[in-house]
Symmetry: C2
Amino acid sequence: MEFKLDKRLSDDTYLIGDLPLCRVLLMDVSNFPWVILVPRLQDKTELFQLSTSEQTDYQKETNYFLESMSTLYNSHKMNIASLGNLVSQLHTHVIVRFRYDDAWPNPVWSYPSMSRYNEMESNMEIDKIRKLVDDYI
Amino acid sequence: MEFKLDKRLSDDTYLIGDLPLCRVLLMDVSNFPWVILVPRLQDKTELFQLSTSEQTDYQKETNYFLESMSTLYNSHKMNIASLGNLVSQLHTHVIVRFRYDDAWPNPVWSYPSMSRYNEMESNMEIDKIRKLVDDYI
């Protein structure tokens, strides 16, 4: 069955590209560097539903994004979460945090005033993060 | 070097037991079934700092807890997150969510009125979750 991205995820993000397992999306929130990794699988809602080989790919890809975004942005902390209370399609948030960011030290979801990128900002972010996808081995 | 649990994690939790890699703690919050897995390693703050074999253990243990707690509590959704903005010692939250719980559909951290367990409640929860640790293969 063909993979179909949830409409809400699609509406709230920019498409960056595909890793072997996951689609990479840039969250349209300019307050925090924030990507979402979506395993291109149908009808999965929980991480434990992945096969062993899918889990290996998932872990490799999430760790790659944690480490490469930490380096790219010189983070103070990386946050990773799979929640899925609103969007059931399995997806994982990878978020770069700084000690001076808008929500620190709280989780980003506690921040009530998220802003969207303007066009110039989103293009710059997309270019930077697409390079991480291109560099994935 | 001997593993030493962060004081804040210790203060906010009940000790359940140890898996091969992770210490298992019950979060002292009665609103949500909520455990914290802490790899028994010194000076790790990010998942990507784990060795390959540690990552394998970490993934196996987190997936085991996601699946076994989902079954135990008949969850509507499992949430998993590694944040670490307040407590830098690497740790992962595994939280059982229900469509009728106090914070649904928001992340639990958005809920302002968390309650602690009373002694009977905490003993019941500890017994249930310790059985999951004992059953781990």
